[in-house]
């Protein structure tokens, strides 16, 4: 069966080979092996980009294959980041607090330790109590479970409500955007229990690996991101191929017809919506330890729209398109906004790309939508001869 699947989808093998080659070469050139051609911060950028590619694949499946333009998948990504961030922050603060309490004559009670941790974490929003949602923060296993469960359950409930009442098309987009907005507004509050505007920080310090250098940690996360991306790619390629894939694509092209053929459309949509949300959460859980900080601004509706932009530019309806789009646009974006692009003097005015990059992105996005609906991925069609 598996043989047949890979045989039918040679692009998966091509992709895995390219990804493997890329990963191995980056690791070989990183500071860990001593070559140090690729700096630690660039390894982190690449690792983060791989996570963005993963969430872009999820977005591609839900939008490009199933036709649901969700403007909420970056919110699921953020939830995954928050879930892992809570454990990272708790565990690290606990170590610091235990270290500082060690010198005391009388050993601290669990209550005292917990109070001190709470003070450290929530002092910045004027509180020291642990909110209920931090109940599992001390356990890595439970918190990892949260990474999967919270986005999954949220998507399940939201999707069930939305699909059940046949909210489709742009209405669904607006509804998912509203959900994202509600979530980010909620997180912006100081009494949300997640440090409001400050977000969670210091996530790059992995508890238990204080002695390990950031160079090594960044490589580990890079490889982990690559593995996750590879696994995600294979998984989604399997989902969208075969019979189920045909039903999903049928829903995109003509939902009513698929329903009349006897398929329970809502279940398929709900499955796709939920499973992509879970993968988005996992991608976020890998992304934010590399980013080091997460705050509600990351979840704002605009981020989810950028996600759609990446997929559209890369090419919808093909998984490698999403990967190319996310990698291309996000790397290009950091090159432009990071001041890497040279200014263009026009004599009367100098175009500084930090100011004009978004204008360029917006305009080129319009151009892609109008003239190249297949995106960058569409270029591959010229290479591969149609049978």
């Amino acid at each position: 069966m598996r043989q047949g699947f890979l045989y039918q989808n040679p692009s998966v093998l091509w992709f895995l080979a390219a990804l493997g080659l890329f990963t191995v070469s980056v690791v070989m050139l990183s500071e860990v092996t001593g070559v140090a051609v690729v700096s630690t911060s660039f390894v982190k950028t690449l690792g983060k980009t791989l996570c963005l590619c993963l969430v872009a694949i999820a977005m591609d499946v839900v939008w490009g294959y199933c036709g649901i333009l969700s403007l909420g998948h970056f919110a699921f990504f953020g939830i995954g980041g928050y879930a892992i961030g809570m454990w990272l922050m708790y565990a690290r603060t606990e170590m610091i607090v235990l270290g500082s309490l060690e010198g005391q004559v009388i050993p601290p009670t669990p209550q005292e330790v917990s109070d001190a941790i709470g003070n450290q974490i929530f002092g910045v929003v004027g509180s020291s109590e642990f909110p209920l949602i931090w109940a599992f923060a001390d356990s890595l296993f439970l918190q990892l479970l949260m990474v999967v469960l919270v986005p999954g359950l949220l998507a399940l409930v939201f999707g069930w409500l939305a699909f059940r009442s046949r909210v489709t098309g742009v209405y669904l987009s607006i509804l998912t955007q509203a959900m994202t907005l509600a979530l980010s507004l909620y997180l912006f509050q100081n009494d949300s229990g997640l440090r409001g505007n400050n977000g969670l920080s210091g996530l790059q310090n992995i508890p238990g690996f204080e002695a390990t250098s950031q160079a090594a940690i960044s490589v580990v996360f890079f490889v982990a991101s690559a593995v996750a991306l590879g696994a995600g790619y294979v998984f989604f390629a399997w989902v969208v191929s075969g019979k189920m894939g045909s039903v999903i694509k049928g829903i995109r092209d003509n939902e009513a017809r698929v329903r009349f053929l006897g398929y329970h459309v809502e279940s398929y949509k709900l499955f796709v919506f939920t499973i992509t949300a879970v993968v988005s959460g996992l991608a976020g859980a890998l992304y934010y330890p590399q980013a080091g900080i997460i705050n509600p601004g990351e979840i704002a509706p605009i981020a989810s729209i950028y996600l759609a932009v990446w997929v559209a530019i890369g090419g919808r309806g093909r998984l490698y398109g999403a990967v190319i789009g996310a990698a291309f646009v996000s790397l290009l974006s950091s090159w432009f906004t990071g001041g890497g692009a040279p200014d263009i003097p026009l004599g009367f005015y100098t175009i500084q790309w930090t100011d004009w990059w978004l204008v360029l992105l917006g305009v080129s996005f319009v151009a892609v939508t109008l003239f190249f609906p297949k995106g960058i991925g569409g270029l591959f069609d010229y290479l591969v001869r149609k049978p």
């Binding site: 333009l69 004559v105 009388i106 050993p107 601290p108 009670t109 669990p110 209550q111 005292e112 939201f158 409500l161 939305a162 059940r164 009442s165 046949r166 909210v167 098309g169 742009v170 209405y171 987009s173 607006i174 509804l175 955007q177 509203a178 959900m179 907005l181 509600a182 507004l185 909620y186 912006f188 509050q189 009494d191 509706p301 605009i302 729209i305 759609a308 932009v309 559209a312 100011d355 004009w356 990059w357 978004l358 204008v359 992105l361 917006g362 305009v363 080129s364 996005f365 319009v366 939508t369 109008l370 609906p373």
Partner: protein
């Protein structure tokens, strides 16, 4: 003292005319109190001055309190103004001035307490002053700092008051003072009862002043006007702290105290017989502490049982400062009735707030209702059109300094600018995407981020002001509780105007007819000789133009930034979707629902607008579940997608 003065008067008979209506002799009789007044003794002397009825008295009191009275070496009092080393003296009676070197003259400096007493004495003069401005200021000073001794002069001045308005104010104020400081309990209760219908902040504060209370603790119920007996178990730790403060109980031994006591009594690796290593639980610590307490090394352990027993042994109460129970009862009743009225007024105020928020949402969404609702085109750049309108207003204000004219010019210009932008966008982009709504959404989103960044590049990131003309500043104050700013009224009126205008255009004009025809069936419309391309272009331009005008209106009360459009876009879409797509009345209903709902939620949780927005969005998501087509759903063929 008097003898000296007489001798002095004889000597200087020419310069000071001693007459019956002169103030100076009277001052000299009290020379010592005038020169060195104390708060206790000054009253007698003030009574004398007031009783004399001399016209110079108010002026003298003012100058005295203002530290402008000087005493000469011979004991005579003058009004003096310091001028370098010299002193300009003015006679208290005749008003003659002369300049002398300041040697030997001392300035009188009554202290704060005395000045207050003087001020009170002055009030009665000011209350009857021929100048209405001074009477008013006297009345307001009483209102600011009411005191018992002002009641009599205030009541006395009511009859002579010529100005109707001020007279009414005096009567009101006298009523307030009577309620608090009246002679008899009957008079006070009567005054208090009359306050039951007054929702002003002043009246409420009078009632609250009467009802001030102190909390206390005693072993038995005390004498006096008890407001209520408190139940200590509601917040046992707080009440116990009160008990400790009153000295009735040993201090609470919280975790911190226990810890400190244990640390202070470490004895060779153990405390109270418990090894140090075991002290990492609260139970072990308490055991160790109990052992310490038994040995007398620490105060006794206050466990929950002992704490509760201590609390049960005492009575916690609230005692009114006012002794007369009948008065406090009347005041409580009056306050309850006032608060009920205030609650009604607040509900009315909330309704006004909701109405103005609804009109803002309506203005922001009505343009969208046309492009999205009627044409089915998702325009994510709609918010940026709002922003363009606001920036147009700002630029026009740079050129036209008169704000009224600037606004009148800005409205049509903003319409023209955004109309042009809308038409351009329709021609260049949207026209090609009519059958791909999701792609329209994305393309217009691309335009939106480009426009936003452009605005940032041109106008900078900081907020730009769009100043409203003077006649729009201020608020319409209906009562202390209900008020609404004129800008919000103007926005409400503007929203009504637009509702009428849109309905007129869509239902009563040729253009509206053609728009509706193209919406329902473009092919059929085209075969009837209507050019759908042209109609679509005009409709889109109309919707965008209205967004521009909404931008001017919104810019007047909110700040103009490049992100202001993004703040409204989601809400606007919600308004249209909740209201029901393709229907102007639906948009109105949606805006009203969202506006009132948001204000309602904010009222429940006033400190937190973010939470209010969150809950509102959640509500809308649920609402869509039950009415996916919105409040005003189209029926029949028009409802087909």
């Amino acid at each position: 003292m008097r003898a000296i003065f007489l001798a002095f008067a004889v000597l200087c008979g020419t310069c000071i005319k001693v007459q019956a209506q002169d103030l100076q002799p009277l001052l000299q009789t009290h020379a010592e109190e005038v020169a060195k007044p104390s708060r206790r003794s000054v009253g007698v002397m003030l009574d004398d001055l007031v009783a004399s009825g001399l016209p110079q008295v108010p002026r003298f009191l003012e100058q005295w309190a203002g530290r402008s009275v000087w005493q000469g070496p011979d004991g005579v009092f003058f009004f003096g103004t310091e001028d370098g080393d010299t002193l300009v003296l003015e006679d208290v009676d005749s008003g003659e001035t002369r300049t002398v070197p300041d040697d030997g003259y001392t300035q009188l400096r009554p202290n704060g307490g005395v000045r207050r007493v003087i001020g009170t004495a002055l009030v009665q003069f000011q209350l009857a002053d021929p100048d209405i401005a001074r009477r008013q200021s006297a009345v307001e000073s009483i209102a600011r700092r009411p005191a018992a001794d002002q009641l009599a002069p205030l009541v006395a001045s009511i009859d002579g008051e010529a100005d109707e308005e001020l007279r009414a104010r005096k009567i009101q104020l006298a009523n307030f003072l009577t309620a608090r400081f009246g002679e008899t309990a009957e008079a006070r209760i009567e005054a208090i009862n009359s306050l039951a219908a007054d929702t002003s902040v002043e009246a409420r504060s009078v009632l609250n002043q009467i009802l001030t209370r102190d909390t206390g603790v005693a072993s038995t119920e005390p004498e006096g006007n008890i407001a209520r007996i408190l139940d200590p178990m509601e917040a046992p730790d707080d009440f116990y702290a009160e008990l400790v403060e009153a000295g009735f109980a040993p201090a609470q031994t919280g975790p911190a105290t226990i810890r400190a006591a244990l640390e202070a009594n470490i004895d060779g690796g153990t405390v109270g017989g418990v090894p140090l290593a075991q002290l990492s639980t609260d139970a072990a610590r308490e055991r160790a502490y109990a052992a310490l307490a038994r040995d007398g090394l620490a105060p006794p352990l206050v466990t929950q049982t002992t704490r509760d027993a201590a609390l049960a042994a005492f009575v916690f109460y609230e005692l009114y400062d006012e002794d007369n129970a009948a008065i406090t009862e009347a005041a409580e009743a009056a306050l309850a009735s006032v608060e009920q009225r205030v609650a009604f007024a607040q509900a009315a105020d909330l309704a006004l707030d909701g109405l103005s928020l609804a009109s803002i949402y309506f203005l922001a969404a009505i343009g969208l209702a046309i492009t999205f609702g009627v044409m089915g085109v998702i325009n994510m750049a709609h918010g940026e059109f709002i922003m363009m309108g606001a920036y147009t207003g700002y630029v026009i204000q740079l050129f036209i300094p008169d704000y009224t004219i600037a606004i009148l010019v800005a409205l049509p210009v903003a319409f023209a600018v955004t109309f042009a932008a809308g038409v351009t966008m329709e021609r260049l982009v949207i026209r090609h995407l009519y059958h791909r709504p999701l792609e329209t959404l994305l393309a217009t989103f691309g335009i939106s981020i480009a426009l936003q960044q452009l605005a940032k590049n041109i106008f900078g990131t900081q907020a730009r002001p769009l100043t409203s003309p003077d006649w729009l500043s201020g608020a319409w104050v209906i009562s202390d509780v209900i008020q609404i700013s004129y800008i919000r009224i103007a926005i409400f009126v503007l929203a009504l105007l637009f509702l009428a205008l849109i309905l007129f255009v869509l239902k009563r004009t040729r253009l509206g007819l053609e728009v509706r025809a193209v919406t329902q069936n473009p092919g059929m419309a085209a075969s009837m000789g209507i050019n759908p391309d042209r109609i679509n272009m005009l409709t889109f331009g109309l919707g965008s133009g209205i967004a521009g005008i909404a931008g001017v209106a919104i810019g007047l009360y909110a700040k103009v930034t490049s992100e202001m459009g993004a703040d409204y876009i989601v809400q606007s879409f919600m308004t249209v979707v909740v209201g029901g797509v393709g229907n102007v009345w639906g948009t109105l209903a949606g805006a009203s629902l969202i506006g009132f709902l948001q204000k309602g939620i904010e009222w429940l949780n006033p400190s937190n607008t973010l939470a209010a927005q969150t809950y509102m969005i959640l509500f809308i998501i649920l609402f869509i579940q039950f009415r996916p087509k919105g409040i005003v759903a189209l029926k029949g063929r028009a409802a087909a997608d």
